[in-house]
Symmetry: D2
Subunit: 342 residues, 4 copies
Amino acid sequence: MTVRAAVAGASGYAGGELLRLLLAHPEVEIGALTGNSNAGQRLGALQPHLLPLADRILQETTADVLAGHDVVFLALPHGQSAAVAEQLGPDVLIIDMGADFRLKDAGDWETFYGSPHAGTWPYGLPELPGARAALEGSKRVAVPGCYPTAVSLALFPAYAAGLAEPEAVIVAASGTSGAGKAPKPHLLGSEVMGSMSPYGVGGGHRHTPEVIQNLSAAAGERVRVSFTPTLAPMPRGILATCSASAKPGVTAESVRAAYEKAFADEPFVHLLPEGQWPATASVYGSNAVQVQVAYDAAANRIIAISAIDNLTKGTAGGAVQSMNIALGLDETTGLTTIGVAP
Amino acid sequence: MTVRAAVAGASGYAGGELLRLLLAHPEVEIGALTGNSNAGQRLGALQPHLLPLADRILQETTADVLAGHDVVFLALPHGQSAAVAEQLGPDVLIIDMGADFRLKDAGDWETFYGSPHAGTWPYGLPELPGARAALEGSKRVAVPGCYPTAVSLALFPAYAAGLAEPEAVIVAASGTSGAGKAPKPHLLGSEVMGSMSPYGVGGGHRHTPEVIQNLSAAAGERVRVSFTPTLAPMPRGILATCSASAKPGVTAESVRAAYEKAFADEPFVHLLPEGQWPATASVYGSNAVQVQVAYDAAANRIIAISAIDNLTKGTAGGAVQSMNIALGLDETTGLTTIGVAP
Amino acid sequence: MTVRAAVAGASGYAGGELLRLLLAHPEVEIGALTGNSNAGQRLGALQPHLLPLADRILQETTADVLAGHDVVFLALPHGQSAAVAEQLGPDVLIIDMGADFRLKDAGDWETFYGSPHAGTWPYGLPELPGARAALEGSKRVAVPGCYPTAVSLALFPAYAAGLAEPEAVIVAASGTSGAGKAPKPHLLGSEVMGSMSPYGVGGGHRHTPEVIQNLSAAAGERVRVSFTPTLAPMPRGILATCSASAKPGVTAESVRAAYEKAFADEPFVHLLPEGQWPATASVYGSNAVQVQVAYDAAANRIIAISAIDNLTKGTAGGAVQSMNIALGLDETTGLTTIGVAP
Amino acid sequence: MTVRAAVAGASGYAGGELLRLLLAHPEVEIGALTGNSNAGQRLGALQPHLLPLADRILQETTADVLAGHDVVFLALPHGQSAAVAEQLGPDVLIIDMGADFRLKDAGDWETFYGSPHAGTWPYGLPELPGARAALEGSKRVAVPGCYPTAVSLALFPAYAAGLAEPEAVIVAASGTSGAGKAPKPHLLGSEVMGSMSPYGVGGGHRHTPEVIQNLSAAAGERVRVSFTPTLAPMPRGILATCSASAKPGVTAESVRAAYEKAFADEPFVHLLPEGQWPATASVYGSNAVQVQVAYDAAANRIIAISAIDNLTKGTAGGAVQSMNIALGLDETTGLTTIGVAP
C-alpha cells in the first residue's frame, strides 16, 4: 500500500515531527505541505533537521492544495479543522492534531475554548478501553492532547480496575516544544533554561476537561481532577506525576496486577520493572510510553507516573499510530520504541 | 559585631553556597574551612567561583580545627554532627545543615535514616509559627531540608488557618545540585539535560517525615502527605506544587486572605500578585521564596506553589538567616531577595 | 555620597542586570526607570527577580523623565543615545550601554551599523592600557560590547607585550541573553536547548571592528581578526577562545609573564593558576573575568581564553565599574568577583 | 543478507548509540552484548531507552563470547582492541570505535597515548579522498574520533582544492556525551549546565594528531593545527568552527565551488545553502553532517563550520556506515539524515 499524505501546518513543531515520522514510514508518500504564514518558503529554512525535504516549498492551506491525498493531517490552530474537513469530503482520512474534535461535551468545549463545538471524532488514544475499535476503518481521527495522553495512560488502569477513588491530582512537567513555535517572551531560551514554572493553575488548562473525560470513562463515574502543568527546561518530553486515593482493600500487588494486565499487549506502553522509574530522556523521539506505579500505604494513594515525548507519542506519533489503525496497517508501522539517549 | 565562622564540608555544594553568602555578610569573618576527602587542596580548585578564597587550603574536619570560632556550620553526611557538636561544647553556635537534628520523632528518624536518633534542635525555618522565637539566642540550629522548606512555606498557611483537610499531595521538581557533588552516573550532565524523572516515589524520600512534621504542627492534627520529588534539568531551584482538599466553606478569598496574613511581615517570602506564578529562575541565588495560591473549585483543592533556590533559602541562605536570628542580628543581614536572572 | 541613577531601557536584559547591581550598590539610589513599549507596566511583571522594585512603574523614555539624576544609564537600541545625551546636557554622567559611541572610526561605524557616526566617548574597559585614566571624571562613558570585553581582555596582553603577530582568530560562545529579550523564533528555548550554532560568520558581526580597534591599539599596528560568534545553550556567559601567531622567540614563560604583569593589579581579572581553565559557570552573575593562556609550540600560537558573564562584566557590571571610576568611587564598589555556582 | 553483530562495550554511550542504530538496521541481527564492569546486568537498567533490548543480559568481554559473529564492534578503552582482534581472527569484520588503529605514525601514537602503537586500519571516514575504496571489503575498520570527523569534513575540501595555507585554527564545542559515562565531578549536570569550558588546550587533546593526519593528507603537506575543544551544556553534538589562511587568489566563489564539488555525491554531508549555518540540533540523532563555508576577505581566512552528532556520525553512525561499505551493502542502510528536533 502506498498512502499519499498531506500535512497542513508543516512549519510548526507538530508538523515537523509528523514529517520526521512520515519520512521513515514505509507506506507513506509525502504530498502537499502547507503553512499559511510561511507559504512560499523552503522547508529547509524552517525545519533544517528534515534534510530530505529541504527543497520542498510550503503552499497555502487550502482545500485545493490538500485535495487528492489519501490522508490529510491537520496541525492548525483550533477552530479551523471543521471547515477544511468539510471541503475535503467524507472519503479522505483526516487526522486532526488540534483540539477541535476531542471533547464529547459541547459545554466543556465552549467553556474552555470559547467557540462553538465542532463535534467529536474517534479519539486517537488506542490504548484506552474501546478506543482501538473505534479507530479501525474510521475516516476521522481526533489526536489527543499531549498532557491527556501522558496522564490518561498513567491513570486509566487504576480506574478501569476499580482501584481508585474518583479524585486525581496531577502535576505534569512538559518540555517547551509543547508551547509551540510562535515566539513569546516567556518561551525564550534565556527565560526557560534553568527555570521551572507552572501555568494554567487551578483547573484552567484546556487539557483539563479532556483528562476528566478519559478518566471518567475508565472509572464509570465522574472523576474530579486537579491538574497543574509546569514548564520544564528541556525541549521535549512530559513527565506526568499522577495520584489518586486508593479504594478500600487496595494493595501494592493489586495495583501492579492491574497495570500489568492493562498494558500486557500494548506495543508502545512499557510498564517498567519494579524499582525503575520513567525518565523523559528514555523516550526522546520515540513513540514509547514508560509507566511505573506504586501504592503509598501511608498516604493511601496510588502514584502512577508516565513519561512520553510530547511531540511523538503526545502528538505526531499518536497521529501516525492512529493512521495505521484507521488504514488497517500494522499499528507499529513506521514507529519506534527506541529513544534517542543520552 | 564580628562573627568568626568555620565551615565543615566546604568543598560540597552546600558548603560552597554558604561561603558565597558569608563572603557577602558584613559581620562575618571566614575562619577554618574543612573537607575530609579534599583536605590539603586549594579551595580555588574545588570552588572556582569563590575567587576571594581561591588560595585557602582545606583542613581536616576535627574539633581542634573547628574550635575557637563563634559559629560553626556543619555540612556533613548525616550521623556525624552530634559528635562534632559535643566536642565543641555548648557555647559555640552550631548550625547543622544536615538532617541529624530536624526530626522530633525518634521512630521517624530511625525508619528513614536507619541510625539512632541524635536529638532535636531548634528548627531553622523562622517563617513557621513559633519557630523564630525558638531560634533567638539559641546555640543550636537544625537547618531544614530543601524540599521541606519549599513545601512547608507553600502549605502551612492553609493549615494554620484551618482551611485544608489533613491530606496533601506534593510534587516537587529540584535542580540537580540538591543531589550533591558526589559523582554518580544518573547525575551526569548527559543524563539529566533534557530529562525529567522522579525518585523516592511512594513516600520513601527522607524529607517526607519532615514535611509531615511541619504541616501537622500547623494543622494541629496529623496530615497525610503524598510526596513525589522529581529531578529537573537545571542546576538549582525547587518548584513545589502542593495541594490539599479544601474544608467546607473555603473560598478563593479566604485562601488569599490567609496567605496574605501569613506572609505580611516576612522579609523573604513574597506572595505574588494574583495571576503571576513562581518561577525558579526568579529566585536564582537569592533567599527569596515566591509563593502563589489558588482555589480550584471544581476539584475542591487549594493549590499552593512555591519557588526557592534549593542551595540558598533551601540550605545555606536558611542557615545564615537562622544564624542572624540566633545572634541577634537583623534577620536579613547579608542576604538578598534579588535573583540572578535571566 | 548618594548618587541618584536613572535607567532608560529597564525592561530588557541589560537594564534588568543593571538594576540588580544598582540595588546592591551602597552609594546609588535608583530613580526613574523607563521602557517605551512597556511604559505603564509594573516592573514586577517584567523583571520578577527584582523583588525590591516589583511595584515600580515604567515610564516613557523622555529627557524630562531622565532629567534630575546624577547618572543616567542608557540601554537603548543603537542610534538613540546621542539625542538623549544632548538633551540631558554636559553635566550629567551618561553611561551608554549601547554601541553608539564605542568606535573611533566613522567609516567602520557606517559600514557595520548603517547610520551616521555619533562620535566617540571614553571607553569603559578600564583594564585596557590608558582606559582608566580617560574614564576618571568623565561625564560620558561608552560601555564596551560583551564580546569585545571578553576578547580584548584575553588577547591585549599578548599584543601589548609584543608577543603576537597581527592576526588573531577568535571563536566565542555566548549565552542567549546576549541576543536580548525581543522574542525571535531562533531564540526560543525549544531551539537553543541542546544546540550550538554560529552566526555573523566571516567578519559580519558588529563587534568585529570594536575588537580590531582594541587589539590594534594594544599592538600598535592594525590587527587582522577572524571573529566567529556562536550561540550556546545557556542563559549567560561568554567563553572566548582566542589565538594569535607567536612572534619569533616567544616561550611559554614569556607569555605567562606578560599576562601576570598585565593583570597583577586588576581587581576583576583573575589569571588562573596554570592547568586550570576558565568556565563561564564560575563567573555567573559576577564581574570577574577568568583568563588562562598557553603557548602551543607545535602550532606556534598563543591561546588565550577568557570567561565572563555577558550581562555583568560584559554589560551592566562594566557599566557600574566605569561609573565608579568616573565618579571617583572605589572601582569595586557594589561589584563582586564571586560567581553563583553551581 | 543477515549480518550477526556483537557489541563489546554495550553499556557505554558509544555502545548504546550503536545498538540504537543496529536495532533499526534491516540487515543486522544483534548478537552478544558485553560490558565488563556491568556483566550480568539487564541492559534495560543501563540503557533504558533501548526498550526492545531491555531484557538482554550483558556478558563478559571475552573472545569466546564475541566469536561466531559476522561483525564485532569494539567500544573499549584504548589499548584493548588489538588483543581481542587477534583472538577473533582475520575473517571477522572488526570495527574498532576506539582510538587504537587510527594513527599512522607510531610516534604520534606513543606521544599522545603513552603506549605501544598497535597498527593502522582502514580509516572509517569514507568522505575523505581515497577512504571509501580502502574500506570496501576490508575486515578491519578504525572508526575516527568524533572531533576529527567534524573537523576533517569541514576543512578537507579547502586543502584538497589547494585553497588553504597549511595552518588551521579549530575551536570545537562538544556535548557532554563525548566525555563518556564514567562519573566524574566536572561532568555532573550541576557543573555542565549553564557552563562552557575548554580542555586539552594548547595541542594536548588526543584527537590533535588525527586531525593533522587527515588535513595533511588532503593538503599534500604537513598542516599545523591549533585545536581547542570545549565542553558545551548539551548532551550531544559537535560544532566545529575551523579556519585557515587563504592562498593567494582565493575568492568566495572558488571556495564555494570546492565545497560543492567535494560533497556533491555524498549521502550524509549536506552543504547548506548560502546564508544558512549549521546547528547541532538539526543533526540530533542523525548521521548527517551540516557544513557551511565562507571566505572572510578582511581576515583572509576560509571559515568552515560543521555540525554533527558526536555519537551518531561522530561514532556509532560512522561505524555503521563503514560496516555497510565493508560488507558491500548500500552505504546508507539503516542510517538517516533526519534529525530529532527541536
